[in-house]
Symmetry: C2
Subunit: 281 residues, 2 copies
């Protein structure tokens, strides 16, 4: 099976390393520029490469599109007419409803699109940060809709398992609400925490005193701002819904602090600790 | 110099290990119960110990009070009349204004109180989690007021330096606002993030998909709920002020997401990234 990867940043690069480590061959990398291509070849991320999308995907059985969210639809639109019959395209974008709805309609007959999202990442987002183990034991969401080809879903599931990730199937809208809750709202909150501190007169002392708690609470605010923009613009509805849930949850705690209601504060904190410990125990 | 430590949890225990590692001798531990005392002696946290406060502090030149916030004032009230002349008492509580104001007035003539707060910690809070390096390179706030004895401040500063921490002096009220911003509001926010997720119908899938971002964003919500209650009840004013700043900061981002204003969202995210990277980068 020939696999092509369009976009060789952290995710595309790590995917290449993971596929090669697990025995994939005929791996072709299609980065944005020649410099990244040379780096990818030097790092052993892919077997061969080109910066020409059409040439790169021509013989591919499976194409991973690992470009920023806002480029996925144009890139797939460009390659779709040139795919070979039976080819499967999948992506890795953090939001799914918009992308999946548009691409399922756009695929030519005999080619297939499966929306995907590996729940893995870090602050660095270039190929230099790529690692073969990035997806180990991580959940990799695949989206199923009424248009989904069973064969294509099975093929992508098999590859996701091959590189050590744990595939789960969700509807695109459910996916978007889930990641709003566990990823996008935490990002908005981290950004707001940092900007609240930097707006205070005491910000210099605050920065000096900031320890591991603030570091971890705000870690995601050091990610790529462009990815954040893509997330907040393509997953607006679910993000706003979950910001609403978060604000109600915070206001409830704020009210108890105002009252000085120690017993109820303890209950809120114990409830959070219990749920969180059940996830990360 | 004889040093006594009242309370042998994570902080008291780590303090004992750090002091011993850096050459302190005559270190007496005064935990709540006999079981902790035996554990402390076995772990080499102190040289000797007793569960009797009055006997323990009788000959001490310096007493570290490492008990939960709400016990500090009663404990110091109990030991104060029994301290030897010239003795210095210091604490490690996360909030300072209430404790310092009450204790500075309560100290008998010829004995001194210096409020202290090491900015170090982790989720585990018992002696088993104690480590000699917990305070290495960490900021240790000491509070100065118009009543502060210069000699006592110098003595405590010297010991804080001895164990590898970085002492800084702040007024109690400034300290409380600073920790509200970098520690207490992040705790409230982490609790609200977790409780928002656990209130959703999709909470099981959300928990299953939660990855390293959510883990780090909410880490502090797994801390001791009782410490959280103490924090929110003894630092109410500063916490409510900083929750206000945080909510304004989040509402501003929420408004931009509603508008779909990509450029302004990018600016907010880039501003947060820049300030955070200046702290931890």
């Amino acid at each position: 099976m020939k696999i092509a990867i369009i976009g060789l940043g952290l995710i595309g690069g790590s995917l290449g390393l993971a596929l090669k480590k697990n025995g994939a061959h005929s791996l072709i990398g299609i980065p944005r520029d020649e410099k990244t291509l040379q780096k990818a070849l030097a790092l052993g991320v892919v077997d061969e490469g080109t910066t020409d999308h059409l040439r790169g995907v021509k013989e591919a059985d499976l194409v991973f599109v690992c470009v920023p969210i806002n480029l996925i639809v144009p890139v797939v639109g460009e390659i779709a007419p040139h795919l070979k019959k039976g080819a499967i395209v999948t992506d890795v974008a953090s939001t799914k409803y918009e992308v999946v709805t548009r691409l399922e309609k756009a695929m030519p007959k005999g080619t297939y699109f499966i929306g995907g999202h590996p729940l893995a990442g870090k602050e660095q987002f270039k190929i230099d940060a790529a690692e073969a183990g990035l997806f180990n034991d991580r959940t990799w969401v695949l989206t199923r809709t009424s248009r989904t080809s069973q064969r294509a879903m099975e093929k992508v599931t098999e590859i996701v398992r091959l590189i050590g990730a744990k595939p789960i199937e969700l509807e695109p809208k459910t996916h978007d609400l889930v990641v709003a809750a566990i990823s996008h709202v935490p990002l908005a909150v981290a950004v707001a925490l940092v900007n609240a501190v930097s707006g205070e007169a005491e910000k210099v002392i605050m920065a000096q005193c900031a320890a591991s708690g603030f570091r971890d609470s705000t870690r995601v605010a050091s990610g790529d701002p462009i990815l954040g923009v893509d997330i907040f613009t393509t997953n607006k509805k679910a993000v706003l819904k979950m910001i609403g849930s978060f604000k109600r949850s915070l206001s409830s705690l704020e009210g108890l602090i105002k009252e000085g209601n120690g017993e109820k504060i303890r209950e809120e904190l114990a409830r959070a600790k219990q749920f969180r410990d059940s996830i990360y125990g």
